[in-house]
């Protein structure tokens, strides 16, 4: 995140000297690089991304499939399957400690206790042959010294907090006895069980219907406000992001191409990709039926090294320099960073 005290360019961020850090900073990711070593070659999934999250902040990471948004956050907790994946560079500072330098034991304490994850598909991320109460208390027992009875009482409280009716009776149900929306509530209860300071929500509403999506979005918003938890919300839905986020980072081909406070990003998008995304959406409240603007072409294949800006083949502003060099992400306006050689042209 770029604030008044940061250097003007994220590219300048901490090679040797750490960037100034405000007291409210919770997580700071610097130049994170993750690659997958596959039989077909090296997939450059994450090409040096930097961002930060403050206490209580909701950062949304937006991008299409394959843009690296999920790899980017799973790398934080080293949840990348290895092999083939490997984090090859960068730092992940959580309250000043580099998570990449922690051993497995220390990292396990961070996972679930300080940072927890809500996954996209609640059916495949819950154990189908384990009662939900046992799944929630498993996490509590792993991190806290409570008796079985206390842990169960806590699990019931959590289920009640996420809006599951008659929680103490539902502890002994299996995941298949819950609907999709209710399962996602169970996942949220599990994520909250050790009062984490940061929750990573990886497209938590994509598998759900719109009325259920609205319930879950409001629930997370409410919990975030009440508990002061910071949230990284990964999504491809620019509508949901408008509702929830404080700050938005747009990803494309393993790079963050634009980052700004939510109002600023929607009012003054500056990267051609962001502009294209926002223009390609029809609005629920619009009568006019002008032709939808499209972004021609396809996202690039991340196998092998790309030269220049990854958006070049689809960009209508591309010039020679774009084909030669990948633009660094720089601050174009206060708090608004973009990675484009032509950002002045656009603003």
């Amino acid at each position: 995140m770029i604030d008044g005290s940061s250097p003007s360019s994220v590219a300048e961020y901490g090679r040797d000297e750490p960037a100034p850090r405000s007291a409210s900073r919770l997580l700071e990711v610097r130049d994170l690089e993750t690659k997958f070593y596959t039989a077909d070659g090296i997939v450059n999934a994450l090409n040096g991304i930097s961002y930060s999250v403050d206490k209580g902040e909701c950062l949304a990471i937006v991008g299409e499939s394959g843009s690296g948004k999920t790899v980017g956050v799973l790398s934080i907790l080293k949840l990348i399957q290895s092999p083939p994946g490997r984090i090859v560079g960068g730092e992940i500072l959580f309250k000043g400690t580099d998570l990449l330098k922690l051993d497995d034991r220390a990292l396990r304490k961070v996972r679930g206790e300080a940072i927890s994850v809500i996954f996209q598909d609640p059916m495949t991320s819950l154990n189908p042959v384990m009662r939900v109460g046992a799944q929630i208390t498993e996490n509590i027992h792993a991190h806290e010294n409570l008796t079985h009875r206390q842990a169960r009482a806590k699990a019931a409280d959590l289920l009640g907090m996420v809006g599951i009716p008659t929680p103490s009776r539902r502890l002994d149900d299996y995941p298949h006895q819950f609907s999709g929306g209710m399962r996602q509530r169970v996942m949220i209860a599990m994520a909250l069980s050790c009062s984490p300071q940061l929750i990573i929500a990886d497209e938590p509403t994509t598998a759900l219907d719109v009325t259920i999506q609205a319930q879950i979005v409001e629930l997370i918003k409410k919990l975030q406000e009440e508990l002061g938890t910071a949230v990284i919300w990964i999504s491809h839905d620019l509508g949901v992001v408008a509702r929830l986020a404080d700050t938005v980072a747009v990803m494309y081909a393993g790079h963050i191409v634009e980052k700004a406070p939510v109002d600023e990003l929607y009012a003054r998008p500056a990267h051609p990709y962001t502009i294209g995304l926002l223009n390609s959406l029809p609005r629920l409240d619009a009568r006019v039926r002008t032709k939808l603007q499209t972004i021609g072409g396809l996202p690039p294949n991340l196998l092998g090294v790309l030269k220049g800006c990854p958006f070049v083949p689809r960009c209508r502003f591309a010039t020679d320099i774009c084909r030669e060099q990948n633009p660094p992400i720089t601050e174009a306006a206060p708090g608004h960073a973009i990675a484009c050689w032509h950002n002045q042209l656009m603003s």
Binding site: E64, S65, S179, G180, G181, M182, D209, V210, T211, I212, Q213, A214, Q215, V217, E218, H236, D237, L238, G239, V240, V241, A242, R243, A245, V262, D263, Y266, G276, L277, L278, S280, L281, P282, R283, L284, D285, A286, R287, R289, K291, L292, Q293, T294, I295, G296, L298, P299
Partner: protein, 325 residues
Amino acid sequence: MNDNVLVRVKDLKMHFPIRAGIFGRTVGAVKAVDGVSFDIMKGETLGLVGESGCGKTTTGRAVLRLYEPTSGEVSFRGVELGSQGAEGVRRTRRHMQMIFQDPYASLNPQMRVGEIIARPLRVHGLVKNRREEKELVADIMQKVGLNVSFRDRFPHEFSGGQRQRIGIARALATSPDFIVCDEPISALDVSIQAQIINLLEQLREDLGLTYLFIAHDLSMVRYLSTRVGVMYLGKMMELSGSDELYENPLHPYTKALLSAIPIPDPPLERQRQRTLLAGDPPSPANPPSGCRFSTRCPIAVDHCRKVEPEFREAIEGHWVACHLV
């Protein structure tokens, strides 16, 4: 019958039996579609929206008689399909085609693109020889924006958006009048969705097509549709002109559905009032008595739980099934 009506659906019911035990005894039925009526006018796009399990896809399939309906009638150009026999339906299907949701599952992975598109031409005997077939396929591929030199490639060599173009080309091969589009963009990335939507619009204008467009993305449905129908648990809840439905929704379910859709405009989003529906939709195997929405309806009264509301024209051209409107 009005000359302008291309497809008429009357009291369509599609129940799937639930079987149990070693003898496969029928113990109940999933009432996926339970008495739905609507007309589709020539040249219009009728949008059909609702949440998963509301019966919108089943309706689309039953309209094309991909399912044999439990009861009810579907007429195409004034002729009832059920009265035509299997061969008659097959011949009529030349004029009514379908674009499927999943471009990965709906194309045969062992067939080349050219063959996939040529198949309907052969089935319906629309080409005399290989040369004519080749020309027609090339023509259709061009229409949907596929490079003709890719005709000998296999589906796995294409991206999701390209595959959906192949699906559209196959549907267009027989020059149909009417196409059921069953969530044609929901499996695609945002930047690709607009490409496919623009293509569908272009084809509708150029070829004079009529669409039944099934989707759960209400913004996209508003953008595309002339009229929109809202389904809930196998019933049509509301049906009206597209702008009318979005600006003056009458049914409490439609209101809740619209308020649940986030708009990509942060200051506006902060001001919007939301009607959050409690709970989940009930099972279509055991729908509630009276109005099906009564268990989640914020304004339901006792009467709603006992008597099923009639689907009636509340305002001219604006149909709704609710006692309290």
